[in-house]
Each structure stands twice: as C-alpha cells, then as structure tokens.
Amino acid sequence: MAQFLRFTLIRAGMALVTLLLVSMIVFTLMELVPGTCAERYLAFKNTQGAAITVEDIEAEERRLGLDRPFLVRWASWTGNVFFRGEFGDSCILRLNINDLLGDKFLISLGICLTALIFAYLIAIPVGIIAASSRNAWLNGSLRFVSYLGLAMPNFLLALMIMLASTVLFGDSMTGLFSNEFRDAEWSWARVQDFLSRAWLPVLILGWSATAFALQTVRALMLDENDKLYVTAARARGLYGRRLLWRYPARHALGPIINSLGFDLNRVFNELPIVAAILTLTEAGALLLEALARSNDQQLAGAIIFLLTASIVTLNFVTDIALALIDPRVRRSVVGA
C-alpha cells in the first residue's frame, strides 16, 4: 500500500512536470507564429482606413506586456493557466478565450472520451473471445468488419448516415442541439436534447476507434496465448474461461490500457472532420480555424494546451490503473 501511494505521488509529480514542459513548448510555438498579437490588433484598424505607425505598435505591445522578456511572459501565461485557469484574450477576435471556448472544449473531450470508452467496451471482450476462438467464420467476419472500419473514412460514414437520416426521417441530424436549444442556457431539457444528438458523432468516431482497438486487443491476446505461462497453467489443469480471464486476458490488459492515451489523441484529431460535416461547433474545429486561417496564436495555444493536458491526465490515470493490475509496474516507479 505504501509502495502504491509512493508510486501515485511520484507519477503525479511527473505529470505536473510534464504539464509544465508542455506549457513551455506550447508557449514557444505560439511565439514562433510570425507577428505578435499587438500587430494583429492593429492590423484590424488598418482595414478601417487608419494609418498605423511603429509607435502605435510599440504602445500596443507595452499595453499587452509583450515588451517583457520571453521567460517572464511565459511565467505569467503559465501562472494564469495553472492557478486561475485563464487563457487571456484571443488576438483576432479580441474576446476572452475562456468565454469563447465556453463548454466547447469539454463537449469535444466528452465526445472523444465517450467514443473511446464505447470502442474499448466492445473491443476488449470481442477481441479476447475472437483471439481464443477457433471459429473461422467468427474470425473472418470480425476481420472484415474491422478492416471496413479501418478503411472507410469517418466523413464517408457521416455522410451516409446523414443521407439515410434525411431520406428516412427528414432530419439530417446535423448540429449538437436542435434549433430551440442552440442558444439556450444549460437545463435538463437541453442535456436531453444534446444526448439525443451527440450519439451520432460518438458512433462515427467510435466506429473506427473500435476497429482499431479490436485489432490491438486481438493481436495482444494472440501474443499472450502463445506464452509459456499459459501452457504452464494448462499443464496445472486450468481450462476454459477461468484460464482465459485469469491468465492471457488479464496479462494483455496492461498494453491495452497503455494504448488509451495514444488513442484519445487520434480520436480528437479525427473529430474536426466529422464536426465539419455534422456542423458541430466544437473545439477541434475552432483549433483548425485558429491555426490555419486566422493565425490566432493565443486561441490555438489554449486549445493545444488543454488537449495535451487531457492526454497527460489520461496517461496519469492509465499509469495508476496499470500499477493496480501489474505488480512489476508498481515496483518500478520511474521505469517504463
């Protein structure tokens, strides 16, 4: 128990250090974008026909604190993020980023995590059973379905569902809310409305994630099944489900948990395309907008940081889960 507590504390400390490093990298990347926030603020004025002087820009930089050294600016940005959860103002939209993001990031994260949970809830039992089954038909059809999931792009699936839904129900199922709730305050009815629509992006994202996870689980199980300790357990008289769940399945769980953090990132990257088609307003789309179109370094930095922080957090949680199931992990505090 003491060993486990020590492990958790050290891992939490390491996660914090990682977050700090991430903030450093994200902040540096934000600085690498050509031009500063001050220039962008004033460029806006230019479109109104006013002339801009170098003095104007310098004054604006002083107002925004951009004349301070890099490290000081990083410290104040990181401090605001860590202690107050404040990301500052967007350079382009001149709005507070926290207001701008609102619950968009949480909704995106929620959709991705739900898709991931959905994927693994299906993939773990099905993959384990498929790997241990001699049934050629079952294995063949599972392989077909999961290759289909891997090969068929998400947007195609989204378009097909939209088409079917429009033809059959006259509702294209786009957007996360129906019209009446779009701008309403959060309420129980709004939650219900959200849930009645959110299953679609979850399903679309989960579909390929399931296919991917299924392949992982199956391969890991086949690997474990061939190991000597499984033969040794059979030689001691274990068989059937008891053998399967206590030996290969239990030992394959570690690498499966390990792949979760990686998968979250993958699903989040796929979200914007699906969101664009289903016209969802979520953070991934906002990130694309900020990065590719408007060069909004503050907004892009905030979203990237939030995403990375979610992945670091998830990795921390999976580390703890790993330590719970595998004594070797518990012992090697810093080890891989």
């Binding site: 001699r134 190991k227 000597l228 300790y229 033969t231 040794a232 357990a233 059979r234 030689a235 001691r236 008289g237 274990l238 068989y239 059937g240 206590r246 030996y247 239990r250 030992h251 570690g254 199931i325 595998d326 004594p327 070797r328 012992r331």
Partner: protein
Amino acid sequence: MSAPLLSVSDLTLRFRTDEGLVTAVEDVSFEIAPGEVLGLVGESGSGKSVTAKSLMRLNARNAVYAPESRIMLNVDGREIDVLALRRERDMKPVRGGAISMIFQEPMASFAPALTVGHQMVEQLLLHTDLSRKAAKELSIEMLARVGISEPARRFDQYTFEFSGGMRQRAMIAMALSTKPRLLIADEPTTALDVTIQAQVIDLMKDLVSEFGMGILFITHDLGVIAQTADRVAVMYLGRIVEQGPVRQVLRAPQHPYTRGLLAALPRLDALDVPLSPVPGDIPSPLERPHGCVFHTRCRERVGPVCEAATPMPVELARGHVASCVRLTESREDVA
C-alpha cells in the same frame, strides 16, 4: 515387475501446417514404472518436448495423433487412455493431478502478474479437497521443503522478485504439491548455473524417492542423464533410436547416433583430444530422410539399405533396444 505407470506405444504425432503434415514424433514407445527415472535425450528439434507435451495433450491445436498411438496412464489401478480424452475438462485429472510438469524457463512458466502463492493455491484447490487455508499452509511447507528461505514471505511475492535458482525450486515445489504420479521435467536445469544445477538435481532425486513418483527427465545433457536416470531413451528426428538401462547405454552404446553424442562430449581428463561432433545439422522436419532417419549424418552407414527401409528395433540385452540395420545384419546375417 509392477505394472508400468505410464506406457506409450506407437506414438506418432504430426502437425498440420501450410506446407502439409509435418511429422514431429514417429512410432515412439516407452514405459515408465513407479519410482523410475527415464531420461529422454536428443538434440533440439528431436521431438523430446513434443513427446512430453503429448502425455498431457499440451501440444498446439494443429497436432494430429495417428490412430494407432496409445498413451495409457495407470493411476491407482485405473487406466486412463490419455488420447481418448476429448474435452479440456476431462483432462483436468491428468494435468496437474496425475502428471505435473516442470519447464525449462521457470521465469516464463509463472504468470508475471500473479503471486507465486496464488498460483500454487489455485492448483491445489483444483486438484485436492483442501480448504484455501490448508492449501496455503501446504504451499508454504512445500516452499520450505525445496529450500526456499522465509517461505511465508516468498509465498506473497512475484517471480520477478525471485532469483533463477529460486524460481526453479518454486516450480518444483508447485509441481510436487499435488503429489503427482509422474513428473515431467523438460530441461529443468538448462537455464541454471552449473552450481545450482547440481543442487536442483539432488533436490529432485530426494523428493522423487520420497514421493515414489516416476520421472520423465528431458535433457540434451548426457552428464545430467548419467547422474539422474535409471533408463535412457535417445531420440533423433522424432524416433527413439536406442533405449535401455542408463549404464549399459552410456558404456556400450549400440546406435551410431548415441556413439556420436557421447563422442561429442568434452572430456576434462583429456583436454587436448579434439572434439568430434556429429557431422551436419539435424534435417528439417519438412525433409525427413527416407529409411533410417539418421542415415544423412551417419558415419557408419552401410549403403542403400539405410535409405530403403526403417530399421527394426533389436533387443540386444534385457531392456536394451536399438534400431540400426548393422545390428540386424550381424544377428541375422542379412546380406
């Protein structure tokens, strides 16, 4: 002589592969009496482990047993036809009950995420009527018996916390805890340091004479065989080419392959004598030689007759049998 504990006759085992049926074991017959140690010797790939695994039906799913193969196990006057067992459930009394197996790599044979104690108790609960508490006590006692210090603490540890020799001792403790009639030891000392090898072999010999069980001892080390076995069977490419009492086989080997193996041993008393290895490599099972399986590497081959027919086993002395055409010739004067 009492009825054999185990009797294997005409065991032929093939694996179904993409290249067709591959023969791993052919016409293997041997017996083990209670309290007897049979050594099974041969190079890697000679079918020793496959033979051992077939006694507990542990071979891969693509194994096909020829219809004339028989593996009979005699437990308390009850005969079990091992190859007739169809379901995994029916094999339970054989696996871990009547027969226990010790593997070459003790590290890989324990599940890494379960404690040693958990795996020992699990096996006892499966095969005996002991309560969980009694099973734990017996397991700790067994760990103490094989010379593991602080057995109660070790009981709750994982194998990665054990040293190599300790793991093999724990493996032996686990294998013997259910008091099996037959112990299969598949190269139990190969992965160990020489000094620990001797300890483990002594330990096994002590426990076996105390428990009165039979042992099938698999190794490629003739020195270990000389120390442990009562009888020895020499395997080459899936066939037993010679078997008999250990002293007789080692002192007066009759089959060219056995002679080759003995000549290949380094001698500490004559370090300047060059080693004489058996020439060539063991052929791929996909290209089994016709006739005598050993003729491709045999220094003493007679001629076309070796490629034409599989030599019949010849009994040279009581219980000493070898299969070589030279022995047939000298006895029956077949030209």
